[in-house]
Amino acid sequence: MKRQIPLAFCFLFGIAMIFTQFSPHSYSQAVYKEVIDWGLIISPFAMVLAVVTLIQTHVTRINLRTEHWQYSLIVFVGMIVMVLIGVPFGPQNSIVEWLYNNVQVPMDASMFSLLAFFIASAAFRAFRARSFEAFLLLATAMIVMIGNVPVGDLVWNKVMSWMPWTDGASWLRQWILDVLNNAARRGIILGVSLGVISQSIRIILGIERSYLGGGD
């Protein structure tokens, strides 16, 4: 019974949700909205458990003075401060807004800005021409990068002036993105879509049940 009831619910709701995608009728849309609302109602309960887990994890680290326990203290203090100010006074409170704009946003921006350096280091490794395929990748990347900057067309018009068309660098870049890149991307998207359909059927029919715990 522990397995059968969730599987029966999964089947019923799975079929119902597919039906709602093809039926604009108000009854079917009401079912869709209702199920989505149930999901929203479940989330806060799960959040309570998550916050309890978070507190347990960091309090244990602080109590046991494990390695790097100071980071846990910062997390713990930050969370307490935000809860103490945010819960009674609301998210529009000036202190909460100040903390959000001057602590959370700059830290998020810092993490995001690291991406530029990580892209450079990953590109450096990926573009080493150790094989023919890697050379192709390198050549394509060079064309796209040159086509992305205004100087690319300038160089093209000077160096390739004997060619019948101008601004070839940006044209070539766009062609690579629109034709080669798009073709590969759509191939992946088609595969992913079929994979999603297949996975969904397996879940709805109860063939795939490892998400219930305990593998097959």
């Binding site: 009728h25 108000s26 995001f112 690291l114 088609l190 059927i201 795939e208 490892s210 715990g213 305990g214």
Partner: protein, 384 residues
């Protein structure tokens, strides 16, 4: 005789001239909007009526007004002013189950009002099936049929061929490496919620990984980004350890909630990588901009990294920074590949039939287009 003919011609020309002068001196007659029709909006939930009309052939008309009556009552204005180019109006503010009729007023520059004829009364009703999605529905039935048929045919067949997927072959290698080095395994499920199919696929891989870590007694760390995912994952991993007869090895505190914020999550995972130096890192699920932040950090600590995502924009980052990458559909094939369950493998064969069908449609569509026949293109473009 000639004299009379000349006089006759002069008289005829004079009459024509006078007639033309009269005709062109007249103001053009301005007619009200014609062919005004009101229909129940197709493929909706019965909450709207669509009104259409023909353009008034007069430059002096500057706007339209729409009036509606309910169950034969008084006409009331429902829209202040509509642009002169507007020839369709969707009335979404109707009373369900009641009859509505409409008239259109054309307003001229001189504030003259030209009123159209009243439309037939219309009752809006909801449709049970969206006729614009019939092609999509048929395609879904065909794909589902192919997958179900393949599952049925393969249910007792142990010899279903599946091509080698290096990323999944490397799962055992990664766990073995971590065990030998005495270090932990870090499993990242991405930012998707539990409703995300990629997250569910990732959880099935995690279930298989957990079985092996239970056998090898290798610590498995799972930082979660979503509270519901956290609870499901805890239950899954716990059951995997129970199934392997190692409930004592299960440590609940190793599966924990980190944060719901995207970059804070990336920072937390990166910090764990730097501090704990896991020997193997699994990045499976839905990822956004944080993908490379985590993959590059994992690469910098020398961990064996197996990534998998259906986010096609993040795939190049994973390919550049990870040792193995499950590309798109391979992520969904993982549970079948790792479990070797015939019914699950059958669904993979069904997917291949779907791919063949799409491939044939593309080839056929392109070939027909070259000959100027475009019904396949039209059919696909008509999907709403």
């Amino acid at each position: 005789m000639l004299k009379y003919k000349i006089i006759l011609w002069i008289m005829l020309c004079s009459i024509l001239f006078l007639y033309d002068t009269y005709v062109f001196s007249q103001e053009p007659e301005t007619t009200p909007p014609e062919n005004v029709t009101a229909v129940d909006t197709p493929n909706d939930d019965g909450s709207s009526i669509t009104v259409t009309w023909d353009s008034v052939r007069d430059d002096s008309v500057r706007s339209y007004k729409i009036l509606r009556n309910t169950d034969g009552g008084e006409f009331e204005e429902i829209e202040e002013q509509l642009d002169v180019d507007t020839l369709e109006y969707k009335d979404s503010n109707i009373e369900k189950g009641k009859t509505h009729a409409y008239v259109i007023q054309a307003i001229t520059d001189t504030d003259a009002i030209l009123v159209s004829l009243q439309t037939e009364g219309v009752i809006a009703t909801g449709q049970w099936f969206h006729s614009g999605k019939i092609q999509l529905f048929i395609a879904m039935i065909i794909f589902c049929g192919a997958i179900l048929g393949s599952i049925y045919l393969c249910r007792n067949n142990q010899d279903v061929f599946v091509r080698r997927i290096p990323g999944l072959e490397a799962v055992n290698e990664a766990i073995g490496r971590a065990t030998e080095m005495g270090r932990s395994i870090l499993y990242v499920l991405g930012l998707g919620g539990v409703e995300n199919v990629a997250t569910i696929a990732s959880m099935t891989i995690l279930g298989q990984v957990a079985r092996r870590t239970a056998d090898y007694e290798t610590p498995l760390r799972v930082p979660c980004n979503d509270p519901i995912v956290l609870n499901v994952v805890r239950e899954m991993v716990k059951t995997s350890y129970l199934d392997e007869g190692r409930p004592d090895a299960y440590q609940e505190e190793n599966i924990f909630y980190l944060t719901g914020d995207q970059f804070a999550y990336a920072a937390g995972v990166d910090g764990m990588m730097i501090r704990e130096k896991p020997a193997a890192v699994f990045l499976q699920g839905t990822f956004y901009a944080e993908s490379l932040l985590m993959a590059e950090t994992g690469n910098s600590i020398g961990a064996i990294q197996i990534a998998g995502t259906d986010s096609e924009h993040q795939l190049p980052f994973f390919i550049a920074a990870c040792d193995y990458t499950l590309i798109g559909e391979e992520l969904y094939a993982a549970s079948a590949y790792l479990s070797k369950e015939p019914m699950l493998l059958g669904s993979l064969r069904g997917q291949d039939w779907g791919k063949i069908l799409i491939f044939v449609t593309i080839i056929l569509g392109v070939t027909l287009e070259l000959f100027g026949i475009n019904w396949i293109t039209t059919l696909l473009q008509s999907v709403r």
